[in-house]
């Protein structure tokens, strides 16, 4: 018989890997499996933005704590993941956008994000690379970005150092409940554990189905692009009021252009492709915000999946009705907030009281059909 682990985490993205890391450091014998290498889906291909100005209001308290975790990643993760903490600006170019920005910044400020509203001229002083066409800007000092593609390298080392049993390129195909816990069926054979965490990104709907739970998850296909290295054009993270732009220049000179413009593809096929006209739209918006980008060349564009629940809030907590089964995913701006929410989940699994409440999925499940008679 295979070893009985204390915990198996299915899915080695940022959510699963962080949960596993803190559970292992809390004394548990933990196994992580992933169908590919660690952090090669959403966690490795996202824009790396660590911002409050695109974070949902309900998540601001979590995102602020997670931002601190990212800024101090070297201390708890052993690798800085290329994190740069800098100012963030969210721009409004029209009256309607200014109204939207003022409203949204106000709500986020109430939730604790230190966002102030400044004029376009003041924004230009903070970010001389900006267009002079902005009417209003949200300014937040708690912002920044990571090199998302380094996430897998960072977590791989940390997990192995923490004694986690790591099996990459090993897809799970089923979870069976046993008298002592769970048996996870994988390509490389069954794994057994007392507890299981489902952290499979856009694929958690299928995985929850193995436990008989119907948790609908929507798949977003986000498009991203990066320029060649160019001379310094900007030093802040720049977005727009409605959240459809994220722009930052990395220390090595490339500028990453994101914002969640949608490509095509499905999680079932596992592949997605860019829609060229959406890429052009995204790039027009980027060049409107930071005109110097027009002189750059596009080096690469790509897509990545993002998972979203029905109410676009996280699915983080115990699986209702199944003792010792947990789920974490669909966090929304999950790269920013994921590590903190995963740490909270690890606390709960370790029997500690989490500092902030989780996001249990009961609200997302269909009500039981009325009993007959």
């Amino acid at each position: 018989m295979s070893t009985m682990h204390d915990l198996i985490v299915i899915g080695g993205g940022i959510n699963g890997a962080t949960t596993a890391l803190f559970a292992a450091r809390g004394g548990m014998d933990v196994a992580v499996i992933d169908r590919g290498p660690l952090c090669r889906e959403a966690s490795g291909v996202n824009a790396g933005t660590l911002t409050m100005q695109m974070t949902r209001v309900a998540l601001i308290p979590y995102a602020l704590r997670a931002h601190h975790m990212w800024a101090t990643a070297r201390e708890w993760l052993g690798h800085d993941v290329g994190v740069v903490v800098c100012d963030g600006l969210s721009l409004a170019f029209t009256e309607q956008e200014a109204e939207l920005l003022a409203f949204r910044a106000g709500k986020r400020r109430e939730a604790g994000a230190p966002i102030t509203l400044i004029t376009g001229q003041q924004a230009l002083q903070i970010e001389p690379g900006l267009s002079d066409k902005a009417l209003l800007a949200g300014h937040c000092r708690v912002d920044g970005y990571a090199n998302a593609y380094l996430t897998g390298l960072a977590f791989r080392t940390a997990l192995l150092d923490a004694g986690v049993t790591l099996t990459e390129n090993n897809p799970a195909t089923d979870i069976r409940q046993t008298s002592s816990g769970f048996e996870v069926v994988t390509k490389k054979g069954p794994l057994r554990a007392k507890r299981v965490v489902i952290a499979g990104g856009v694929w958690i709907e299928e995985m929850m189905g193995w436990l008989g739970i119907d948790l609908p998850i929507k798949t977003l296909v986000n498009q991203l692009a990066v320029t060649e290295r160019i001379p310094t054009a900007m030093r802040t993270v720049v977005g727009i009021a409605n959240g459809l732009l994220s722009l930052k220049q990395y220390p090595h000179g490339t500028v990453v252009i994101g914002g969640g413009w949608q490509g095509s593809g499905s999680r079932e096929g596992g592949t997605c492709s860019l829609l060229p006209e959406r890429l052009v739209g995204n790039i027009r918006l980027a060049c409107h915000a930071v005109p110097a980008l027009k002189d750059a060349r596009l080096a690469r564009a790509w897509t990545g999946f993002e998972a979203e629940t029905r109410d676009a809030l996280p699915a983080v907590g115990p699986v209702p009705g199944i003792h010792n089964a947990y789920v974490i995913g669909s966090i929304h701006s999950g790269y920013t907030s994921g590590p903190y929410l995963a740490k909270l989940l690890a606390d709960q699994i370790l029997g500690r009281e989490p500092d902030l409440p989780l996001f249990p999925i009961d609200r997302l499940l269909k009500p039981e059909p009325l009993a007959q008679g």
């Binding site: 027009k294 596009l298 080096a299 690469r300």
Partner: protein, 478 residues
């Protein structure tokens, strides 16, 4: 936004031998064909046309064959869409281009991809110095521009291109100062019988040898470049002996003062478009690396997507022509323009031709294959990825940190993340990774293809626009 042109039955990407022949064949069999190429004239690399403004024409059998085929193309009903850079190819089958008039979009139900190959770079210290250039690039300079290299240049690498470039420049009065050939005379003799199957090429080869011999160019067989030296540009190189596998071995090093170096270690299939579209891939060492899986007519695993020419496996110009004929016929058949009987009848001769040519192309492909031992000889601090300054030891460290496939290697090191998207470093980086883990190349995978297929300026993509015209999606939830 620009709207797509949809009036073609088939689009052919690449105007080299494979692309030209497939386009002509498809059009002769009733298809409306658009032939797209980045250059202003068809020809690809082997049949590259001289520029109108170049100082002197380059006389060769290839130049004559190229002119002949360009004449046939001109008389055909193929629509030539030249001077356009392909930056995106998406589903069934949309091709986004950038031309002199800005962004254009073409869409057709059939797509024939004939985008050729790129040079394989086997890095050595100093390979990124100005004055060091690729062998295929040298042929462009020779054929298209008629430009002479600076005085005191050396020629290094492997395969028939070495002899062709040496002879071409020798005849123009600019012989290289030395030829450094990874192969030995015995490798060339081994290729002779298959060469004899192509009398025309055999004669051409003899001509090259005579030009080289009469120019008294020193040839260093079984030698490779150890390093290039110089401050701001190359001023000398050091060469050293290799064994039959291409591995550096002990023996006297020779220093050669030079102002330029043309170096080429074979070709790698340019298979980005089929990869981008998700066609099944297979690793074929003897054909240059990863290629799309194809039937004898160039049909890939995706419906109505065909891949031919060197991009589907390095086989050279003659095989590319027969492959072009077969794919053109297959597209006409698959589109319902010719029936099964006509298809079988017309393709029989091309299939036979294709088989006959393969002895020679296999021998040439064998000469320019990747030598794993040559890659193993690359020193630790040699830059492999010039876009991102990644050395061999960086790659080895990433492999030891757990990177087991090339895309993970890219994440760990940035190797292949630059503007060349791994075209220069990819083959060697994958080989280093495979050797480090003692895996075969199939196991370490291939680099994910991404748009743009070649870098393009943001300005050129933007077109004219007002902020109000940007179709900004609805706001994200608060």
């Amino acid at each position: 936004m620009v709207s797509p042109h949809c009036h073609f039955d088939v689009l052919v990407l690449g105007g080299g031998p494979a692309g030209m022949v497939s386009a002509i064949t498809a059009s002769q069999n009733g298809l409306r064909v658009g032939l797209i190429d980045e250059q202003v004239e068809a020809g690809g690399q082997i049949w590259r046309a001289p520029w109108a403004s170049s100082p002197q024409g380059y006389e060769s059998p290839e130049a004559r064959d190229g002119n002949k085929m360009r004449d046939r193309l001109a008389l055909s009903s193929v629509t030539c869409l030249f001077g356009r850079r392909i930056w995106s190819v998406t589903d069934r089958y949309r091709v986004d281009l950038l031309g002199a008039d800005g962004v254009e979009i073409f869409q057709a139900p059939h797509l024939i991809v004939a985008l050729g190959a790129h040079e394989r770079v086997i890095p050595f210290p100093g390979w990124t110095l100005p004055g060091v250039m690729g062998l295929a690039a040298a042929t462009i300079m020779l054929k298209a521009h008629g430009l002479a290299p600076p005085k005191d240049w050396v020629l290094a690498g492997v395969g028939p291109l070495l002899a062709a470039v040496a002879a071409g420049y020798a005849r123009k009065g600019h012989p290289p100062k030395a030829i450094i050939d990874l192969s030995g005379p015995s490798d060339w003799f081994a290729a002779l019988p298959s060469l004899a199957s192509r009398p025309g090429l055999f004669k051409q080869g003899v001509g090259w040898v005579l030009s080289i011999v009469s120019s008294r160019i020193p040839i260093y067989f079984r030698h490779a470049i150890r390093r290039a030296e110089g401050q701001d540009r190359i001023s000398a190189c050091v060469i050293g002996p290799v064994d039959a596998d291409g591995k550096s071995i002990d023996g006297p090093e020779v220093g050669i003062a030079c102002n330029a170096m043309m170096v080429g270690n074979g070709l790698v299939p340019g298979g980005e478009v089929p990869r981008l579209l998700g066609a099944d891939q297979v690793y074929r060492h003897e054909l240059g690396g990863w290629i799309p899986e194809c039937d004898p007519f160039g049909r890939t695993s995706l419906e109505h997507l065909y891949a031919i020419g060197d991009g589907a496996g390095i086989r050279g110009g003659a095989v590319a022509c027969s492959a072009g004929k077969l794919a053109g016929l297959a597209a006409a058949h698959d589109a319902g323009c010719i029936d099964a009987g006509a298809f079988a009848h017309q393709s029989a001769q091309a299939l036979a031709e294709h088989r006959k040519l393969s002895a020679f192309s296999d021998a040439m492909a064998h000469m320019i294959r990747l030598r794993p031992a040559q890659v193993a000889s690359i020193e630790a601090d040699t830059v492999i990825c010039r876009c991102e300054d990644v050395t061999r030891q960086d790659l080895v460290a990433a492999a030891r940190a757990g990177a087991r496939d090339v895309n993970q290697l890219k994440h760990f090191t940035r190797c292949g993340m630059g503007p060349c998207q791994g075209r220069m470093c990819g083959d060697v980086a994958a080989e280093i990774l495979a050797q480090e883990h003692r895996l075969d190349r199939q196991a370490v995978g291939y680099w994910t293809a991404r748009p743009p297929l070649r870098p393009i300026s943001l300005q050129s993509m933007l077109g004219r626009f007002d902020y109000a015209d940007i179709p900004i999606p609805k706001p994200a939830p608060l």
